[in-house]
């Protein structure tokens, strides 16, 4: 009723835009609905009639079967460890570097800042080979370190946090200096709490990116027990005989996507703000 009330008196242009947005949202949701629907169907039935996804009966057998596959749990744990650790490290590096570039004057500051941003123009794929050689030289492949460390100094993160710290009024920090706060105390007790919206944005995007990352884990983790979810699921789905069935594969995908869904539900405000470009303000 409230929504209906809001549309009353809405200009025609806005109504058309609203309808278009709703249609686009449905279009975007369709694959998700399809995957979820398939995951709730009996595998035998799907082989006979793939269109059966929109009609009963439904079953949660595929999800019950998931719990019996030990590898999925390992891959999930690996993804969680890698994504969380990587996100925390990206936040630490980005916040420290961003605050330094924004607030501490040192010789060559602008040159170093620009140099660090040059990384934005270098595609990740271009450094895969040297990255592989580097970790190979230290014999770190098939370890968490190899999955976590690459990319913790992200140019985007440094840029975002620098811009955000610069936007915090200098007078607030000056007041803290008059309040006898040390440089670290100002960073920790004043600047960092004020930068939570930007940190949330960066954290969410970093977590999503790491969780969904496929290329580097595929190259670095060659032993199944070190697979992340993306690599593990891909390995399962490229199994030619599809012995476990389509419904089971889709149940794996839904399971793998659950953390993302939960993350979005809890941090929706920051995700939307980030997409709208408001985190900089």
């Amino acid at each position: 009723m409230a929504t209906a009330g809001k549309t009353v008196g809405m200009p025609l242009g806005e109504r058309l835009a609203l309808i278009a947005v709703i249609l686009l949202a449905i279009l975007w949701l369709l694959p998700l609905v399809w995957v979820t629907g398939v995951s709730l169907k009996n595998n035998t039935e799907l082989v006979v009639n793939p269109g059966a996804v929109f009609s009963a009966p439904y079953t949660i057998q595929n999800y019950i079967d998931l719990t019996k596959t030990s590898a999925l749990g390992t891959w999930f744990r690996n993804s969680l460890i890698v994504s969380l650790s990587h996100t925390v490290l990206v936040l630490i590096v980005s916040c420290l570097a961003g605050y330094g570039f924004a607030r501490i004057e040192f010789p060559g500051r602008n040159a170093v800042f620009i140099f660090s941003l040059v990384g934005l123009a270098i595609p990740g794929q271009a450094i895969i080979v040297p990255l592989h050689s580097f970790f190979n030289a230290f014999d770190l492949h098939n370890t968490y370190a190899a999955l976590i460390i690459p990319g913790i100094a992200t140019p985007f993160g440094i840029f975002l946090m620098t811009a955000y710290f610069r936007a915090i009024p200098a007078e607030i920090e000056e007041a803290a200096r008059l309040d006898n706060a040390s440089r670290f105390k100002i960073f920790w007790a004043i600047a960092l709490p004020l930068a939570v919206p930007a940190m949330a944005t960066l954290g969410i995007f970093t977590f999503l990116g790491t969780w969904n990352d496929y290329l580097w884990p595929l190259i670095s983790a060659t032993r199944p027990e070190m697979y992340t979810l993306t690599v593990g699921l891909a390995a399962t789905q490229t199994n030619i005989d599809q012995s476990e069935g389509l419904g089971y594969l889709m149940a794996q995908s839904v399971f793998a996507g659950l953390p993302m869904l939960i993350l979005y539900i809890f941090f929706q405000k920051y995700v939307v703000r980030a997409v709208a470009g408001a985190a900089i303000r």
Partner: protein, 360 residues
């Protein structure tokens, strides 16, 4: 509370000299206002006292200590910023406690100080709110409270009333003046608003282009401006400046010709020569049917208790005078002004002020 001594202070930003060889003494417990237009260096000077801006040369003494090399937190000063600069993520109480926690003050002492400041500033009911939940006036009081709890030797105010509306500004002016009487602390207040300066200060420091133009009590500054700049900057409406074409000495006093009119002044004639400018404040230029200066009314401002008359002299020079509250003058009327010679000023070619001997 402590005295402040600024000795030969110099401040350069690159090649630009913002403050040039400035010396000033502020007595303990004094309320001093730095007054001047934007860019005159008053805020830079305040920030140097606070330690937020380094001095290029010179000494700053607060009490018995030389402080120009000390960080802001160790100078014994507290500052109230124009934008209040409250910590947005902290409550009012946390804002006030932050500085005390940083120097390891005991919790019970912090609580007592906050309670006392809250009582003085009527913030008791707002202690658990965050700055975003407060009005401009309340934020201003919290900023002052944050300064009070530190019991500083010196309070510094950087245009703290600029963001308030006219009514609140007038009220806060009174509150700050009352606070000074209550605390008896040394206070330095920066403003470009001469009404704030006149109403609050015990001593005004008028600045222009990084230099002190005049230091004095508010009425001294108003009645005996040292320079033409001070005379023009202090007083609303501003002082009238009329070009003098000729002078005569009559019984030791200077009479000056402005256009076709000879105007007697109370300024001693001795030693005055060269190009001169006559200065008359609007209240010394009264509408008078028998007055010596003829003009044509341009704009009439009725303020309730008096009427401000803007008029044009025959030579095209604009003057501002006063009439009573019931003035019937309107645009285009011919008017005559009389000059109160005891309240006239003459400025020489260097801009130095010379005043009637007995200014009321």
């Amino acid at each position: 509370m402590s005295r402040i001594d600024l000795v030969n202070i110099n401040k350069k930003f690159g090649s630009y000299e913002a403050i040039a060889d400035l010396s000033l003494a502020i007595d303990s417990g004094e309320f001093v206002v730095f007054l001047g237009p934007s860019g005159c260096g008053k805020t830079t000077l305040l920030r140097m006292i606070a330690g937020l801006e380094a001095v290029t040369a010179g000494e700053i003494h607060i009490g018995d200590r030389r402080v120009e090399h000390l960080p802001p937190g160790q100078r014994g000063v507290a500052m109230v910023f124009q934008s209040y600069a409250l910590y947005p993520h902290m409550t009012v109480a946390q804002n006030m406690a932050f500085g005390l926690r940083n120097i390891g003050t005991e919790k019970s002492v912090i609580e007592a100080k906050i309670a006392e400041a809250a009582r003085i500033l009527q913030l008791e009911t707002l202690l658990d709110r965050k700055p975003g939940q407060l009005s401009g006036g309340q934020r201003q009081r919290v900023a002052i409270g944050r300064a009070i709890v530190k019991s500083p030797e010196v309070f510094l105010f950087d245009e703290p009333l600029s963001n308030l509306d006219a009514m609140l500004r007038a009220r806060t002016r009174v509150e700050i003046a009352r606070l000074h009487q209550t605390l008896g602390a040394t206070m330095v207040f920066v403003t470009h608003d001469q009404i704030e300066a006149m109403t609050m200060a015990q001593k005004i420091v008028v600045m222009s282009n990084g230099k002190i133009e005049q230091v004095g009590a508010p009425l001294d500054i108003y009645r005996r401006p040292a320079t033409r700049f001070v005379a023009s900057f202090v007083g609303v409406p501003a002082m009238n400046f009329l070009d003098v074409s000729n002078t005569e000495a009559v019984r030791g006093k200077l009479h000056v010709r402005v256009g076709e009119t000879m105007i007697p002044t109370g300024v001693p004639a001795a030693g005055l020569s060269g190009p001169l400018t006559l200065g008359i404040r609007p209240e010394a230029l009264r509408v008078d049917a028998n007055g010596t200066i003829a003009a044509k009314v341009d704009v009439v401002e009725r303020l309730g208790d008096k009427t401000i008359i803007h008029a044009m002299l025959p030579g095209g020079q604009a003057v501002v005078g006063e009439d009573g509250d019931t003035s019937a003058l309107t645009f285009g009327d011919q008017v005559r002004f009389s000059v109160d010679s005891a309240r006239t000023h003459v400025f020489d070619a260097a801009g130095r002020g010379h005043h009637a001997e007995v200014a009321p």
